[in-house]
């Protein structure tokens, strides 16, 4: 049912009565996707992308909590350099392995695409659902299965190989590698099918008038991510299958005594795992593109550059995996090639950063909570990305490899980049998802604590690492203790920040101000339906327009949100 959207868009009336909500307002207490169909079965068997997104959100946040607990245990142990009553050295190895594996495979890889992308993608397209709703639900259950297998591993011997599972240790250790690796294998399929679904949705379900270059940049980010999910993850799949075969059957493909090659394992592993980090960051960059325009009240600058840079990052990400293997026994020839290519991959990322900053320039900056995360991202991702170049320089990496410098680098990009952007996106879309506004004050407090806590924790590690502190090490020399202690204090501040964020969100679900349809003045299509949206997404199918035409919206004090400015010469709204 495609009517001209403009007439109904101009309505600022708040509907009364108990029927489905009108287009421009809050739908709490009325029929929305949360109330449409009740009971556990309606959730567990749902085909609604919004409900699947919410289930993913709860699941991955729980994983983040579990992974975070391991992190805090590690940081607490590291307050002192010697043997600790808190955990043995073997338990320490298990802790950092599980921290890494949980955070990477259960939280950050599904992360933004599964939790936010699932919810927002069809809405941004003005569509009713993704291309394959049943596959979407299956993806979620694959995530659950993978998580259960990981739990089995954790509770029956765990894993102590590091999340990288390098041979020959992973083929000979007596911890429960197979269960964990099987879990990751299943999680890989969850990721593949999500990517598949998103690619087909973007290709086939765009509305009339939404050409590729009229699509929100978040979707370009999701699309680039999906390319990597589809092309890289199967190689992880075969790597894990080979690892299981090696352990269970003694296949010998990575065992030099049987004619195998352990370095080949690393080639296999990193062919996925390097592009994987771009699975982590591309959606985050997509979120930032949305937020920076809305909260600068200004059209995005350099749309095409940002859009195409997502694809460039996706493609170039496949060319650099050997930079993880500079000291692994890789030949000098390959190392030099990979080092040069690594410098190339930074370029499209930098293009994005410059365009975001240009968007802010002469904008009307609104320091709402999501924008605080945008500013944090620019700073933290900047540091993370630049330190990646330090590590990409072959000669420098020889000294920095396996030190805390690497740990700090990837936390700056994954945490300071992806998690910060995820929090920004969550704060941005929360009112749409749940129909509630949270407290801006506590939102900002949380953002600030996270920023301060994060830098305290991880900047210290850059310094430590450049002084030679090795990573993954239960014991350390006394000279590093002050750094470790500072880092641990930072981690506790981080934890407090997250607790505040969590309480803020949970409180909003019960006591938050009902959210209008468009609290932030976004011009993308998800803001043109009620908060929360109805089951079918749109009472009236919106017409595709310029997704960054934020100046077309003005703030209306009465409803505490944004409404479209009336058009000159159009029929007056009733």
């Amino acid at each position: 049912m495609k009517e001209g959207g403009k007439k109904s868009m101009a309505s600022t009336d708040v509907a009364v009565g108990g029927g489905p909500a009108g287009v421009a307002e809050n739908a709490l207490g009325k029929d929305n996707y949360l109330t449409h169909g009740r009971g556990l079965r309606s959730w567990l068997l749902t085909l609604d992308h919004k409900r699947i997104g919410v289930m993913y959100l709860v699941s991955i946040l729980s994983s983040f909590l579990l992974g975070g607990i391991f992190a805090l245990l590690i940081r607490t142990k590291l307050l002192s350099p010697g043997t600790s009553a808190l955990m043995t050295a073997d338990q320490y190895n298990q802790s950092f392995t599980l921290h890494g594996a949980i955070m990477i495979f259960l939280f950050i890889i599904p992360g933004i695409p599964a939790a936010l992308g699932n919810f927002v993608l069809p809405l941004m397209l003005g569509a009713k659902d993704v291309a394959f709703p049943r596959l979407n639900l299956a993806s979620y259950y694959m995530w659950v299965t993978g998580a259960l297998l990981a739990l089995v591993s954790i509770t029956t011997g765990a894993v102590d190989t590091g999340w990288t599972f390098y041979t020959p240790y992973s083929t000979t250790t007596n911890t429960n590698v197979i269960a964990m690796v099987a879990g990751v294998f299943v999680l890989g399929f969850s990721s593949i099918f999500t990517g598949l679904n998103f690619v087909v949705t973007i290709h086939k379900l765009r509305p009339r008038g939404m050409s590729w270059f009229r699509m929100p940049l978040f979707l370009w980010g999701i699309y680039g991510t999906a390319i990597i999910q589809i092309m890289a993850t199967p190689v992880l799949g075969i790597t894990l299958l080979l690892l299981i075969a090696e352990r269970a059957l003694g296949v010998g493909i990575f065992d030099p005594a049987l004619g195998g090659d352990p370095v080949l394992f690393q080639h296999f592993f990193w062919f996925y795992s390097h592009p994987a980090v771009y699975i982590m960051i591309l959606p985050a960059m997509g979120v930032i593109s949305e937020l920076v325009s809305v909260f600068s009240r200004k059209h995005i600058f350099g749309y095409k550059f940002i859009a195409l840079s997502s694809i460039a990052i996706a493609v170039i990400s496949f060319l650099v995996w050997g930079h993880h293997m500079f000291v692994a026994g890789q030949s000098n020839l390959a190392s030099m090639i990979f080092s040069a290519l690594t410098f190339m991959v930074a370029i499209p990322s930098a293009v994005k950063v410059f365009n975001w900053i240009a968007t802010m320039y002469k904008g009307s900056i609104w320091l709402a909570t999501p924008m605080l995360y945008v500013l944090s991202f620019l700073f933290l991702f900047g540091i993370g990305g630049l330190t990646g170049l330090f590590l990409g320089a072959l000669a420098v990496d020889v000294h920095l490899h396996d030190t805390y410098f690497v740990v700090a680098h990837f936390h700056y990009v994954m945490f300071g980049g992806t998690v910060i952007a995820f929090l920004g996106g969550l704060h941005y879309w929360w009112p749409k998802m749940f129909g509630r506004m949270y407290s801006e004050l506590w939102g900002r407090v949380g953002a600030l604590l996270v920023f301060v806590g994060f830098n305290t924790t991880f900047f210290t590690q850059f310094v430590m690492g450049s002084k030679g502190a090795p990573r993954r090490s239960y014991h350390y020399v006394a000279e590093f203790q002050p750094y470790h202690q500072l880092s641990t204090i930072g981690s506790y501040v981080l934890a407090v920040g997250f607790v505040i964020i969590a309480i803020n969100f949970l409180h909003s679900l019960f006591r938050g101000r009902p959210a209008p349809a468009n609290p932030w003045g976004g011009a993308t299509l998800e803001w043109q339906t009620s908060s929360p949206p109805p089951h079918d997404n749109f009472a009236v199918s919106p017409a595709a327009g310029d997704p960054y035409d934020v100046e077309d919206w003005r703030y209306d004090r009465e409803i505490g949100g944004f409404v479209r400015k009336p058009r000159v010469g159009s029929a007056a709204a009733s």
């Binding site: 020959p168 083929t171 000979t172 007596n174 090659d261 370095v263 080949l264 026994g329 020839l333």
Partner: protein
């Protein structure tokens, strides 16, 4: 609830969507594949050194192309499907090429006969 074929009253010979492969094309491709298989086996019987692998792969690629273009309708489908498939092949080629490059480059560094027994 199944829709039986007999119930469709409209021109049932032509599907609503998609392209129908004429039977003669189907049969020709099938026979071609079998002939090419025979050729592969026969050529493998002659020793032409390094070219054996090349020829075998070339014939396999012709067979694969027949399957892709006709049995899998790639010739009649939207180009995006072909782009997706070919991209996958390119990524595999990239992976194999670099892995070969590296393993050959570090092979001289390997210590002959060094193979410590791994213990569990």
């Amino acid at each position: 609830m199944a829709e039986t074929i007999e119930a469709t009253k409209h021109s049932s010979d032509h599907p609503a969507v998609g392209h129908v492969l004429p039977f003669r094309v189907l049969a020709a491709v099938w026979l071609g594949l079998l002939v090419l298989t025979v050729i592969t086996v026969v050529v493998a019987g002659f020793d032409i050194g390094n070219f054996n692998l090349g020829v075998a792969m070339a014939i396999a690629t012709v067979k694969a192309s027949l399957v892709l273009l006709y049995f899998m309708h790639m010739r009649y489908d939207r180009p995006m499907n072909a782009i997706v498939f070919v991209s996958a092949l390119l990524f595999v080629a990239l992976f194999v090429y670099i892995a070969l490059l590296d393993t050959h480059a570090y092979a001289p560094d390997l210590i002959p006969g060094y193979a410590p027994e791994l213990t569990r």
